[in-house]
């Protein structure tokens, strides 16, 4: 083997369910690509900064010194990484900014967080039924870019209608235990609460569990991430909408992207990951009746589940051969 592709992924954490899915997709993809392309030694590493910016910077510096071919950085804060981007590029490393785009980076891998959030909000408007509708929103950690973008999008979507009223917004810091406490407190505080919206599906699990325990069968949930167990609860359940990200799928996509760059392909500078809104077919119809824009791409549950479960294949070695 004379050719090698070394990929490093630096993430802000490794404990949120979504990150875990990412990591497993990433690792699987590395193994699959390495096997599929015996002439290239494909290796990958995943580093977690455990939420600490300084640690992330150290990891980035160390990584640059190691000189991999491609590095993905899900920066806790992009400003802090500007100097490092230059340093990496000087060392001949391709820098891919993940989720929060950076002008200086070679590529940015984005999710369209604001658009996705807006779609969630619009869906809520359309499915709220026109009556006064109370929603509480679970946020990420204060200042977290993804969380803030999603939050801004959701508010934008909601503002399309008059009847949806945000009664509470609280950060759950990406932590499911906090999210559960929050859900429990909201359900007692707002007996008329109609919906809980969250910036990650990680918040949905405990919220759904709390609602089920307290016998609340009316409340609606609006998720984000496309976790399979959450989408499974859409048909006939209380989960009304979700955003199909799918961590594993994204993890595979990273590797595909790195491979294509390695092969010398020209990619768009900003790679926008395709993340459709997920609704049930019935709800989609209902939403359209209530003025939900027809041009928003919507996946129905079966399709979404299929993509979440097998969509990674779309980015597997076959996709580039």
């Amino acid at each position: 083997q004379d050719d090698a592709l070394d990929i490093v992924f630096i993430n802000d954490g490794h404990v949120a369910p979504y990150h875990v899915a990412w990591l497993s997709g990433f690792e699987d993809a590395i193994a699959a690509y390495d096997e599929a392309f015996p002439d290239i030694a494909i290796t990958g590493r995943w580093l977690s900064a455990e939420g600490s910016l300084e640690k992330m910077i150290q990891q980035t510096e160390v990584t640059i010194n190691e000189g991999p071919d491609v590095m993905f950085v899900n920066a806790i804060n992009v400003d802090a990484f500007e100097p490092l981007v230059a340093q990496a590029q000087a060392a001949g490393i391709t820098w891919i900014a993940v989720h929060s785009p950076m002008d200086s980076a070679d590529y940015s891998f984005t999710l369209g967080d604001i658009a996705n959030g807006r779609n969630q909000g619009l869906a809520m408007c359309a499915l709220s039924g026109g009556e006064p509708f109370e929603v509480a929103i679970m946020l990420g950690q204060a200042g977290n870019p993804s969380g803030e973008a999603r939050h801004a999008g959701i508010l934008e979507g909601i503002s399309a209608c008059e009847n949806v009223n945000v009664v509470a917004e609280q950060p759950a810091d990406w932590d499911t235990v906090k999210a559960q406490t929050l859900a429990e407190n909201w359900l007692t505080q707002f007996p008329d609460l109609d919906a809980i919206s969250g910036v990650t599906d990680g918040y949905m699990y405990p919220s759904i569990a709390i609602a089920a325990n307290s016998g609340n069968t009316d409340i609606q949930f609006y998720g984000y991430d496309g976790d399979i167990p959450i989408m499974q609860q859409m048909e006939g359940g209380q989960v009304m909408a979700d955003i199909l990200l799918s961590g594993t799928r994204e993890g595979w996509n990273f590797v595909q992207m790195a491979y294509r760059i390695h092969q010398g392909e020209e990619l768009d500078k900003v790679y926008d990951f395709f993340t459709p809104l997920v609704l049930t077919e019935a709800n989609h119809a209902k939403a359209l009746e209530n003025g939900f824009p027809a041009d928003v791409t919507v996946y129905y549950v079966d399709q979404a589940l299929d993509v979440a479960a097998n969509g990674y294949l779309e980015f597997g070695p076959d996709s580039v051969q």
Partner: protein, 326 residues
């Protein structure tokens, strides 16, 4: 009058060697860890990596030295990490509003000291639990940082402000000689001035220190203020390092600092310990963290390994200390 002073040189030597031995063991472990990691990754020993390593623990050095003072009094300062964010915020905002870097430095250090002084007054004067008080300011300072930054970061491009934390002479970050100067200054303060003796006295027996007229309650206020000032200094370094002011900077710094200080042989219960131990503790801890990054294993496996290494360090230390220090 009969003199019964039996100044016995061997006895004194035996007593000192308990401490010296601990430092030797730490130094040995540092060598061992570096060799281990350099076997795992040949890059470990590159000058660049050593520069990165030193730069990444510069702040830990500063904060841990302050923590050593605090822990010598039997206290603890959980607020330093948040304080780094808060002081940085004050400094950066001063910089952006006035455009003056020195003024920014000054306000950053003063802001750090302010939080430290609150700690000190509650702990030294009102005699409240250091753990509880600094846990409150841990939340408070982080909260204030989020509020003044409005949870977003602020870019800094002023070269003076970035100089300390961001510049390198070759592979040596300028902050390292700076840390060394701080170490020397603090050593003089701790070992050669009455204030330094007061630190030990307050930790060894607050009541006695009080009765001897050493005003331990006042010393404690100053010690926490010093810890806060060092957090302010760290904030300046951090801003330089990340060329921006960040509301979430300094996260978990206090736990890393306490760990390093304890690894360096300072007792949690006050009265015992030295700055040199802390320096070695920080180095060892920093090498472990840096080395684990280089090995690039799964993050969960890294946690496991980190835990095992820490345990191994104290096991080895206790094994060599056995029979030493009574």
């Amino acid at each position: 009058m009969t003199s019964t002073v039996t100044v016995n040189p061997t006895a004194a030597k035996a007593a000192i060697s308990g401490l010296t031995l601990r430092y030797l063991v730490l130094a040995g472990l540092i060598v061992l860890a570096s060799v281990g990691f350099s076997l795992a990754n040949e890059n470990f020993y590159s000058l660049v990596n050593i520069g990165i390593l030193l730069r990444s623990i510069a702040v830990l050095f500063l904060v841990s030295m302050g923590m050593t003072f605090v822990m010598l009094t039997g206290g603890i300062d959980l607020s330093v990490g948040s304080n780094v964010a808060f002081a940085g915020g004050v400094g950066v905002i001063t910089l952006t509003t006035t455009g003056s870097a020195p003024l920014g430095f000054l306000t950053a250090i003063l802001a750090g000291m302010a939080i430290g002084t609150i700690n000190g007054i509650f702990i030294g004067r009102l005699k409240l639990s250091a753990f509880m008080v600094t846990l409150a300011t841990f939340a408070l300072a982080r909260g204030l940082a989020l509020v003044i930054y409005d949870a977003t970061s602020i870019n800094v491009s002023d070269p003076t402000f970035l100089w300390l934390g961001g510049t390198s002479w070759g592979n040596i970050p300028v902050v390292i000689p700076f840390v060394f100067c701080v170490f020397v200054a603090l050593s003089v303060l701790l070992y050669r001035t009455p204030f330094g003796r007061n630190v030990y006295a307050a930790g060894a027996n607050f009541n006695t220190a009080f009765v001897l007229g050493r005003r331990p309650e006042r010393s404690v206020v100053w010690i926490y203020a010093l810890s806060g000032a060092l957090a302010g200094l760290s904030a300046i370094v951090t801003v330089g390092r990340v060329s921006s002011g960040q509301p979430w900077s300094g996260l978990y710094l206090e736990f890393d600092a306490i760990t390093a200080v304890i690894l360096g042989g300072t007792s949690l219960f006050g009265g015992r310990g030295r700055l040199l131990g802390t320096i070695l503790g920080v180095l060892l801890y920093g090498i472990i963290i840096n080395g684990l990054v280089l090995t690039g294993t799964n993050p969960y496996l890294q946690s496991l390994i980190k835990g095992m290494i820490l345990l191994g360090v104290v096991l080895l230390d206790s094994w060599t200390q056995r029979g030493k220090a009574a």
